[in-house]
């Protein structure tokens, strides 16, 4: 019987699952299953993740969280087979790249339209300015209020180190080395393919059931993800001043960012966000 590797993680785990299920070298050995830790509900444990679901689990890739374990995490630990190996890995998020994430009252009534909030754009919504004027005003206010991004970065690094400490391998140094030259984040919590390409072999190497496939899976995942866009369903544009202050060398001022069925520039995105404009899916 083909066994499973169960990934317990936020949506970053879905990328690991999708990639894992595409690798020929692992195909005969395992399949990958995913429990979304950010969406799982109490009935899900009864209806979806019962003994039958857990029976073939050979290993668990568990994404850690800071703080005490949640009820759901305890539920996971109670349900997985006693002899299965657990490999812990850190989540990734970057708050410093989008420093104006904050309150937008429109999200209460319409939480999905522009899920990644921008408090400055939100404040401009009530001014009903023409598009060009609204964007100019946004640039003016955001420039004036730009926080100390190096400090924000240090806070991110602190969070990365905290979750590294709970994990079986560390990501903080890798992210710090990479994030200025290579785009790693599409949003605060959505990743390009690059982190998946790095994390996946780390997990394989530490998982007894598939460790013998480490080098092969490394080659295959490199091939699979070499031109992959990662979690690009919603990609939030980067403010040019943020790119400058954080020295993001991959930044292109003319870049277009995927937003559902559109490719928008930073300016096009901000104007639409201010206007809470509808878009094509």
């Amino acid at each position: 019987m083909k066994r499973s590797i169960l990934i317990y993680s936020n949506c970053q785990g879905e990328e690991l699952q999708r990639a894992g299920n595409c690798l020929p070298c692992l195909d005969e050995h395992v399949q990958f299953k995913w429990i979304p830790l950010h969406k799982v509900t109490e009935p899900d444990w009864r209806n979806l993740y019962g003994p039958e679901f857990m029976a073939d689990v050979a290993a668990v890739w568990e994404q850690v969280e800071a703080g005490p374990p949640t009820d759901h995490r305890r539920e996971l630990h109670d349900r997985i087979p006693k002899d299965c190996q657990v490999v812990r890995f850190p989540p990734l998020s970057a708050l410093c790249i989008w420093p104006f994430a904050g309150n937008d009252p429109r999200l209460a009534a319409d939480p999905d339209r522009y899920h990644w909030s921008d408090s400055i754009a939100a404040a401009l919504a009530s001014e009903n300015l023409p598009h060009e004027a609204a964007f100019e005003r946004y640039m003016q206010i955001s420039t004036e209020r730009m926080p100390d991004l190096e400090r924000r970065l240090r806070l991110d690094v602190g969070r990365w180190q905290a979750t590294d400490a709970l994990s079986d391998f560390k990501l903080s140094e890798w992210v710090q080395q990479k994030f200025r030259t290579t785009k790693l984040f599409h949003t605060m919590g959505h990743l390009t393919a690059e982190p998946t390409r790095y994390i996946f072999p780390q997990l394989v190497q530490r998982t007894s059931a598939v460790a013998h496939r480490t080098s092969q899976s490394q080659r295959e995942i490199d091939l699979l993800l070499r031109y992959n866009e990662g979690q690009d369903h919603e990609t939030v544009p980067v403010h040019p001043l943020v790119a400058q202050r954080l020295q993001l060398r991959y930044f292109d001022p003319d870049a277009r960012y995927r937003w559902h069925a559109h490719d928008w520039t930073f300016k096009e995105y901000i104007i639409r966000y201010i206007n809470w404009a509808t878009y094509m899916d």
Partner: protein, 293 residues
Amino acid sequence: MTPLPTTATPGSAPLFVLGHHAAHQMAGIINRLPSLRGRLEAHFIAPDGDIDAILAQPACRILPTVQLCWEQADVGNATAKAEFRNRLPRHCSVARFPSPRLTALWPFHHPDPSLIREPQLELQRYRFVDRLADRLADGALDDDLLALAYDRMAKEQNSDLGGILAADLAAMRRTDDACDVKVADFIEHNFKRQRLFAAPPFPTGTVARHVLDQLLARVPWLSEDCLDLVRRDLDFLLTGYVDRRDELPVHPIVARHFGLAWWSPAIRYRWHGNRWTFEEYLLDYVQRRRYLR
């Protein structure tokens, strides 16, 4: 995002948009335009199956009140569509719009779906058949040699690209003749300057916009002032609209032959979750490599 409605909103004139992807897309666009709110409300209907299957769709509950019907030509069950037209109320005005195909940019594409390898996969990895690449599929060539071999075969084909284009345009004109809105001239005049097709059967949003402009101009109760507002809303809504994630790469000799202004040797095509050059797509196609959607 807003799902397409299945019940009528008071005050809005109900519009049926009957067809496949292009019709669904059009209905979605109409319902997102602020200037049409309270004036027009689009309801999508798939013209598949028999007349009973069409009438069983939830949107058909408002059939007696529908005022406009936009029908995509050449898709769905023709008999059932004709029957459906007969069931529309007398006051309902019908306009037909075409489903253009452009094959000239992909002369090595074979339209026969039975040639798709991996028919066992529900979502075929490579749904467009490349008859030249398929000849290389059983060989043991390295990637470099494989790309060279494909290029040599493509040149040896010496395809009459002008002739293929002329045939495409002639087919579009025949469909145009049977439709109320026209696309052939627009495509002929613009396909080198703008990207109008993502793959042979998939016109881009630019073509959709051209069709919509004509359909909206036929709505009798929309004044010229209102249409100006609608056009402004369309400009805003469709900025950067790319729609599909399956862009079939164009071979460089084809792009150069037609002098496509939107093409460059380094162009990357979106293929589901990936961005591939022509050569990268070709190699993965030949090897049947898995990719992430």
